[in-house]
Symmetry: D2
Subunit: 376 residues, 4 copies
C-alpha cells in the first residue's frame, strides 16, 4: 500500500491503480480500511479538499503513526483522477459530479458511492429536485446492488453504488418480488445508526440530542431511498435475480419510513406486505418455513448474504460487509414480515463498493472484504 510503487508482494498478480475522492468522510475511511489489505490495489491518490497535503493520520486517528499513515498524504482531485485507473467517489451527492463524468468519459472505471447516477432522469428530478446532470452517462451506468445485478456489474466500467437504506430495503423483499408475492401494500420501517448522516456536525448528529433517543425522520414518501427500493423491486418483478438497470419494468410503490436509533452503525429493515392469498412457487400456502426456504434458494450463491431463521440483529454485521436476512409470516394477520440487517458503512457503502470493484476487475467477489463482524 504505497503511493510510490506497487508492493512487491503483489507483483505476481494484477494490481490496479486506484484513487479515492472524498477520502476524509466516513465512506472514505471505510474504503481505506478495506483497501489496505486488498491484494490487487495500488493506491495512487486520496483526495480531500479539507486535508490536502496532510497525512492520513491528521484526519483518521485509527491510521495514526503506522506505515500506512506515514506513506499516505491527501491529494488534490485532479491528480487523484489523473493517476488512477479505477476511481471510488465517496464525496457527498452533487459535489464532484462533473469530475466523475469526466473520468468516465476518459475511460476510467468508476464506482460512485453518491446518488448522482442512481436514478433515471424523471425520478432524479422528482426526488432530488434538480435535473439529472448527465443522462447519457446514466445510460452507461449499472446499479451496483450486487446480488440483483451481478451479471451487469461483471466487467462493467461505471457503477452507481446503492444507498444504505436502499440496499437492505431491496434485499429484504427481493425474493418476494421475484416470486410475485408482494402484496398491494408495502411498508418498510428502516432503522439506522447515525454514521450514515456523515461526518458533518449539526444538531442532527449531536450526541446529547441522539443518545437515549429514538425517532422517525423523513417518513411517508419523503426519503430519497424510496425510489431506489421501488425500482429494485420493480426490476426483480420484471427480470428476477438478473435485474437489468436500463430495461423496462413496472415499479412497485413502497411506503418507506426511516428511523434513527442511538448507535453509530447498523441498519435493520423491517418490511411489511400482505400476500392476500398468493401461494408459494410449489403451490403451498405462504408460511415462515416456506419463505425461509425460498429466501435461502434465492441467495444461495451470494457470499455476503446470510439467510437465517433467527431474527437478524445489526451487531452481527458491525464493521463487516455481511447482510443477515430473515422472514416471518404472521399467521393471525396474514402479513409477511421480512428483515435485513447490515452495517450501513459496510454493505451499505464501502463494502459494497469494493465488492463492485472486485466484480468489475474480474476478481473473486469477496477479495479484501470484511467477512466477520466485530462482536460484541
Amino acid at each position: 500500500m504505497t503511493l510510490t510503487q506497487p508492493d512487491s508482494k503483489k507483483t505476481l498478480e494484477a494490481t490496479f491503480k486506484v484513487g479515492i475522492l472524498g477520502a476524509s468522510g466516513y465512506g472514505g475511511a471505510e474504503l481505506l480500511r478495506r483497501l489496505q489489505d486488498h491484494p490487487h490495489m495500488h493506491l495512487t491518490g486520496i483526495a480531500s479538499r479539507q486535508y490536502l497535503g496532510k497525512p492520513v493520520s491528521a484526519c483518521w486517528t485509527q491510521f495514526a503513526d503506522s506505515d500506512f499513515a506515514d506513506e499516505l498524504v491527501f491529494t488534490d482531485t485532479d491528480s487523484t483522477v489523473a493517476d488512477a485507473e479505477v476511481l471510488f467517489s465517496a464525496a457527498p451527492h452533487g459535489s464532484v459530479t462533473d469530475v466523475v463524468a469526466e473520468a468516465v468519459r476518459a475511460g476510467k472505471k468508476v464506482i460512485d458511492l453518491s446518488a448522482d447516477f442512481r436514478l433515471p432522469a424523471a425520478d432524479y428530478k422528482q426526488w432530488y429536485g434538480s435535473p439529472l446532470a448527465y443522462p447519457d452517462l446514466y445510460a452507461q451506468s449499472v446499479y451496483g446492488l450486487v446480488e440483483l445485478h451481478r451479471d451487469e456489474i461483471d466487467r462493467a466500467s461505471f457503477v452507481a453504488n446503492p444507498g444504505c437504506h436502499a440496499t437492505v430495503g431491496a434485499l429484504a423483499l427481493a425474493p418476494l418480488a421475484a416470486h410475485g408475492l408482494l402484496g398491494k401494500h408495502i411498508a418498510i420501517t428502516s432503522t439506522t445508526g447515525i454514521s450514515g448522516a456523515g461526518r458533518g456536525a449539526s444538531s442532527a448528529t449531536h450526541y446529547s440530542e441522539l443518545n437515549e433517543n429514538f425517532k422517525a425522520y423523513k417518513v411517508a414518501g419523503t426519503h430519497r431511498h424510496t425510489a431506489e427500493i421501488e425500482h429494485s423491486l420493480g426490476r426483480v418483478q420484471a427480470w428476477g435475480k438478473r435485474a437489468r438497470t436500463h430495461e423496462p419494468f413496472t415499479p412497485v410503490t413502497v411506503s418507506f419510513n426511516p428511523h434513527l436509533a442511538p448507535m453509530t452503525r447498523g441498519i435493520l429493515a423491517t418490511a411489511y406486505t400482505h400476500p392476500e392469498g398468493k401461494q408459494l412457487p410449489g403451490g403451498q400456502s405462504v408460511s415462515t418455513e416456506g419463505l425461509l426456504e425460498l429466501y435461502r434458494t434465492f441467495y444461495a450463491a451470494d457470499p455476503l448474504i446470510t439467510v437465517q431463521k433467527d431474527l437478524p440483529q445489526t451487531k452481527a454485521t458491525y464493521g463487516s460487509d455481511r447482510v443477515v436476512i430473515s422472514v416471518r409470516v404472521d399467521g393471525r394477520s396474514g402479513h409477511i414480515i421480512a428483515f435485513a440487517a447490515e452495517d450501513n458503512l459496510g454493505k451499505g457503502a464501502a463494502g459494497q463498493a469494493v465488492q463492485n470493484f472486485n466484480l468489475m476487475m474480474g476478481l473473486p467477489e469477496t477479495t479484501g472484504l470484511m467477512l466477520r463482524a466485530v462482536y460484541p
Copy 2:
C-alpha cells in the same frame, strides 16, 4: 413521606395509606419517585422479598442517605397489604396474583401493574398459556388505559394497568378506530429501550450484547401485548373514547412487532394501516392535516397527551409521564402512519398507575405526575 405518621403539611387534605408490592423493581422505583412528592399519599409499606428489612437505599442508590431513604425500610407482603388502603402491585406477572386477589376481596383499592388481570379468560389462556386465575375479579376490574377508560376508572376500586407497548400502540391508533378509519391490515413496529425487561440479569439485558445493536424480538403475533392492543382498538371501534372494559366489541387484528434499541428508556410505536378510500368525518379525503386535527380533537381533554405535527421522539418523554403523538398520510402509497412515544417506565408503567390512582381517589388527574422530560 413516612411510615410512622402522615406528614403534617398534608393534614389539611385527604391522604391515603398506600403500599407497594414489588418495590425493588424498576416499576417500584418509579412509583417511589412519584409518590414522594404526592400530596395525598401516606406510604405505609414497600414490599420486597429480596430486600426485606433493609433501607430503601440498599436497593436504590438514587434515594441514598436522604430523609426519604432513612425513613423507608422494605416490608413484607402481608404487612404491606394489611396496612394499606390502596395497593400498587409492581411485582412480576403471576408472582402475587393471590395476594392481589385477596386484597381486592378485602375491599382495598388496587392498581395492578402486572398482566394478571388485563385480559378475559379465553384471551388470557391463549396468550399466557395458563387459565385466568380469578375470572370473577377480572369481571370487577377496569382496564386502566386512562384516555380510553376515564369514566370507568373514576372512583373505581380495581384497575389493571396496561402494558408499556400496549399503551402507545393503542393510543397511536385509537382516533382512527373511533372514526372507522382503520384499514383491513394493521401493522405496528414498536421500538423500546431495555428497561421494560426489568432489573433481572440475563443475556437479554447484558450491556455488551445490546449496545450498538438493534433487533426485533417476539414478532409476528407472538408478543402478548398484541391482545391488549387489539382489544383496545376493538373497544374504541365499538364505544368510542368512552371504551368499556366488559362490554361486547369486535376486536381488530394487528400484526404487532416489537424491536429493541440500545437505550434504557422510551418506546416509539410506528403504526401502519391503509384506509382504502375511507373518508374523514366531514367527508374530506384522508390527509395529514385532517388527521392531525382529528387527533387533536380526540385527545383535547387529555393532559398527558401531546398531539403535534413534528414527528415524536422518545427523548421528549424521558423520565416523564407524557405521550407525544403524530400522524402522517403517505400520499404515494396511501398508508396512514401513526406515531406515539412514551417513557415505558412513565406512562408505560408507574406514571399511568399514579394517574389511575388519582382518578380512583377523585384527585386531579396529574397530581404527583412527571410532566416534563429530562432533556437532553
Copy 3:
C-alpha cells in the same frame, strides 16, 4: 408560570420577577424545568437571539404543546432585563458580560452561570487570555459554590455560579483542605458527559465520534476550571467551610485532567492526594472510616450532599441536583482518593443556580430543586 401575571396559587407568598438570558442552551432548558414548579417565581422573560419571538416549544421538544409552552415566547435581551427583578444568565462566556454588568449596576439581583465573574483579574487574564471586564463588579460578586460560601450567598445580590468540573473537584477535596490533609501533590481525573460542551454542533459533539469512545482532553494545566478548584481549596484552607470570596488565601496547586465518557450527563471527579503522615483531627492516623466520618461531619448541614461509603456513580444524580461523595485510603500506597459525582447540568449548572437564588431571596435552600435522580 406565566408572562402576564403571577399564578394565583402563589399570591399568598412572595414571588419574584425572574428573567433568563441564554434560555435556548442546555443550561437554560434546565433552568426552565426547575422554575416551572418553583413557587416563588414569576417568569417575565426568556431571552434567545436565535429563537426570538418563537414559542418555547420551537426550541425545546420536552415543553411542546403544554400550558407552559403555550404561554412562553422567547424574548429579547433588553426587555428580559428590564422586566426582571432577578436575572439568571446562562449565555456563553463573554457573550452578555456588558448586559450582566449593567443589570448589576441597576440594582437587579443576578446569578451568572458563565465564567465572566468567577476569577480575580490576574487569574482571569491568565486562564481566559483577556482582561477581566469589570473588576469593580467582580469585587461585589460572591462565588456561588453553596456548600463553601453559604453565608456570603445569603441575601447576596450578585453570584458567580461555579463551573461544572469546578464544583465536584472542590467538593471532593474540601474536607481535606479544611483539616490540613491535602498533600504536596494533588491530581484530579474528572470524567464528564458531553452535555457540558453545550448545544453547539462540532466534531467534538458528533455522536459517531463520541460513542464507544473514552478520551482525555485539555489535561495537564490547560483546562480553565483548574483555577476555580485551586481557589476553592485555598479558601477552605484559609477559612474553613465559611470560605470568603474576596479575602486573602494561599491557593493550592492541582493537576486537573478532564476526560470525556460516552454519555450525555454526569461528572465523576476522582481526586488523588498523599497526606504524607498527617493525622486526622483527633490524632488518629488517616483511614477510610476516619475520613468518611470527617466528610459526613463537614457536609452534615448540606441538603444536596450525600456522603456514603459506597463508591459514587453518576447515574445516582441523573437529572437531579444531588452530589454523591465518598473517600478511600489506599493503605498500600498511602494515597487518599476522593470521589464526587453530580449531574453537570444539575448541581454543575442550573440546579446550583436555583440553589443560589433561594439563598439570595431568603427561601428554603432546596425550593424547586430536583432531589431525586431519574434511575435507571
Copy 4:
C-alpha cells in the same frame, strides 16, 4: 480453517494444530476472529461446556451461516487438548487450571489468558486468596507482555497472557520505569468498557444499570491487576525493556483505581507520577517533548504501539490490537501524566495472545492480528 484437514492454501507453509479452551466467552470469540485468517493455524478444537456439540453459530451470531460456522462445532475439553499442538486457554480464572497444567507437562505449547499463572506464589495468595496451584509450572512460564518480554517469549512454551488493565497500566509507565523517572507516588485511573467483565449476566453487566453511568470500582488497592502492574514496572526498573519474568526485582507500589464507562470495548489508563527533580537521560529537565521522544525511542521496534503527541482515545483501537500512548508534563504541578489506550479484548486479551503465539512459533509478530480499528 477446518476441523478435518488443513486448508490447501496453507500447505506450503508451516501450520500448527491449535485448540481453544473457553471458546464461548468474549475472549474466545475474539480468538476465533483472529484465527480464521491466520495462515499458520489449523484449528483442531474449540471447547465449551455450555455449547458442546453445537455449531459455532449457536453461540456467536457473527459467524452464523458461514463456511467458517458450518465446519466448526464446539468440542469437549479432553479432545481439544489431545488434538492440539498449541492451546489457547480463554476459560475463566481457576476453571481449567489442572487441564492447562497437564497440557504443559505433556509438552504442548500453551497461551493462558487467565490469571492462573501470572503471579509468583506469595503474590498469588495475597491477591487471589488461595495458594498458587502449580509453583513449578509458574517457574516455567513467561509473562506475556510482549513489548517488555519479547526475548523471553521468543520460542517459549508456556506464556501467561497479561490482564487487560495490567497491559495498558504497565505500557503507560514502562518508559519512565526504564529511565528511573517514576516518582515516589504513582496513581493510575484506568477506565474500561464492560466487555472485560465477560459474557456472564449480572447486575454488574445490566444495560439499564450501566448506560449513562460512570463509576469507580475495586479502587484503592483492591483490584488484582495492581500486582501485575507493580511487577511489570519493577522488572523494567531492574532489567529495562528486556524484562525477566523470574529474575529478582524491587516492585514499585501503585495506587490502581479502575473505573467503568458506558461502552462495550476500550481501556484508557491515565497514570500520574511526580519525578521530583529527576532528569531525562541526556540531563535535560523533564518536559512533554522530551518524554515523547523517550517514549518513541522506547517503543520504536514495537509494531502494535503508537506513541503520538495527540491524546489517545479508545475508539482509535476499537476492534484492533493496537495500543496508543501519549505523555504530558503538567508544568504547574510537576506531575507526569501518561496515557495508554487499547481494546481490552484486543491487545488486552485475544490480540496479545495471538501476538504471543506468533513469537512462540517463530512467525512474524503481527501475523493474523487486527492492525486497524473500526472507526467510527
